[in-house]
Symmetry: C2
Subunit: 282 residues, 2 copies
Amino acid sequence: MPARLLEGRPVADAIWRDVDARSAQFAEDAGRQPALALVSGADEAAAAYGRQIERQFARHGLKTFRASVEAPDFLQHLRGLNADPNVDGILLLTPLPDGVRPEAAALAIDPAKDVDGQHPVNLGRLAQRRQAFAPATARGGLELLKHYEIPLRGTRTVVIGRSPVVGMPLALMLIDADATVMVCHSRSGDLAALARAADLLCVAIGRAGLVGPDHVKPGAVVVDFGTNPLPDDPNRLVGDVQTDAVMEIAGAITPVPGGTGPTTVSVLAEHTVLAAELRRAT
Amino acid sequence: MPARLLEGRPVADAIWRDVDARSAQFAEDAGRQPALALVSGADEAAAAYGRQIERQFARHGLKTFRASVEAPDFLQHLRGLNADPNVDGILLLTPLPDGVRPEAAALAIDPAKDVDGQHPVNLGRLAQRRQAFAPATARGGLELLKHYEIPLRGTRTVVIGRSPVVGMPLALMLIDADATVMVCHSRSGDLAALARAADLLCVAIGRAGLVGPDHVKPGAVVVDFGTNPLPDDPNRLVGDVQTDAVMEIAGAITPVPGGTGPTTVSVLAEHTVLAAELRRAT
C-alpha cells in the first residue's frame, strides 16, 4: 500500500483561516491592517517571490510594503522599518544585494519584527524552548506534522541537515515537542542506517534525491523540505527524497512540490499577525 | 579492563596556561588586566562560588569585580557594567535575587560580555555554527573531549538532557564539530536502548545515577555533567552516571567530582580574556 500523501495545501488553508479571523480582529481593534515589510536588492527572483507574497497577503487582509534597496542604504532602511509603528514584520528576500552581509542584515532586524526567524536571538530562544519566531519553512513543517496528527512525544526522529533556516530550528522545535531527535548531516557516516531507525524522518539537506528507499523504515513518516531545481529544467523542483520509490515503503510522505512548500507563506502571515498582536499588547 | 579516567584537572591546567599567556599579553598591550564582573543577590552559596572564582582569577592575572545587588537595582547595575570600558565579562551567580527574572537578567547583558553564554543571542549563534560564547560548563565538556583527542567527526553521540545551560549548547557544539547527535530527555522512551547506540554518551539531566551499565555500549566514552548533592550528605556530589558500575563497561569516563567540573572556571577565564581581546580589536 503506497504511503499516505501529506499535502501542504490543507495545512496552509487552516493557517490562512486563522489569519483571516485574527487579522480582521486586529484591524477592528487597531484601526489598521497587520503589515509586513519586504526588503530585497535588485535581484529579480527575490522580487518575484516578494510579489507572490504580496498577492497572498492582500487576499487575507494583510498589508505589505515592498522596497528594493541597495547596499549603502540597506541597514539604515531596516532600522527605519524597526522604528516604524505601522510595520509589524520584516522579511529579507534573498539573495541580498552585493555588499550586504547576511549576518549583519539579520542582526539589524528588531527581533520582535523578525517574522522569518532570521535574527540569532530568535534561534537561541527556540533552543531555550521559549516563544520565538522560527524560520517560516521550519515552522511550516511542524504545523504540517501537527495538522496530520503525527505523534511527536517520544518519537524517534532523524533530521538530515543542520542549516540555520531549516534543519537546526526544526530539530530544536521537535526537541521542544518532546521528540527524541538525531541530527545527521553531510559528515554523518552511514546515513541510510541512521535514517532507517527513524519513525519520523525530516530531510532538509538540499541534495536532490539523496534519500532513497534504503533510508526509510517501513511505515515511517517522511517530510521532505528539498526544493532542488532540475538541471535540465530549472523551473521544475524535486525534493531531497526519491518520492516515488520511498512512497512504497513509508507510511506517509510529503510530496514535492505541494508538501512543506505551501505552508511557508501562510506561516509568514501568521507570524506577521502574531507580531502585530504582541506589539499591541506591550 | 576498567575505563580510562578522563580527569578535568589536566584540561583545566592547559586552559589556564593559555589564559596566563594571553592575559599577560593583553595587560602589556592594554595597560590593564582582563576583568570579569560577578553579580549576585544576597544568596550565600552564590557569594561563595563568586569568591572561589575570584581566587582562581587572581592567581592568573585576571581582575574581578564582585557586587551583591538587590532586585530594584539589578538590571540597572548590569547596564552600568555593559557601559564600563574596564569590564570585559559579566557573570550572573544564581540564584538571582527575588524579583529578578532570569530571562530579563540574561537579556540585559551585552552579548559581547556574556562570557557564560546566558544571552539567547549567543545560543542562537551556536545554533548558526558561528563564533559565540557558550555556557562555560558545556564548553568545558567539549574542551575535555578535545584534550583527550576523542574523535567527534561522524561519531554517534547521544546527549541526555536538553537544558539551555548544558544539554542544548553541548548538542549544538557537537553538531558543529561534525558529530551525529541524538538529543534524549525525560520524555524519550527506552533511554537505555537509545543511549546504548552511542559511541559518545554525554549526560546532563540532573538525576543522580540515572545512567547505569545498561545504558552504555562497551568501549563507549561517557561524559558526566551531573553534580547532584547526596540527600544524606549535601556536601558530597554524585553524577548522573553510576560511575563505578559503568566503569566496567565504558572505554573512558569522567569522574564526579573531578571530571567536567574543574574545567568550568578555566573556560570562564578564557572567555573573559577572549572578550577583552575582541573588544580591543573592534
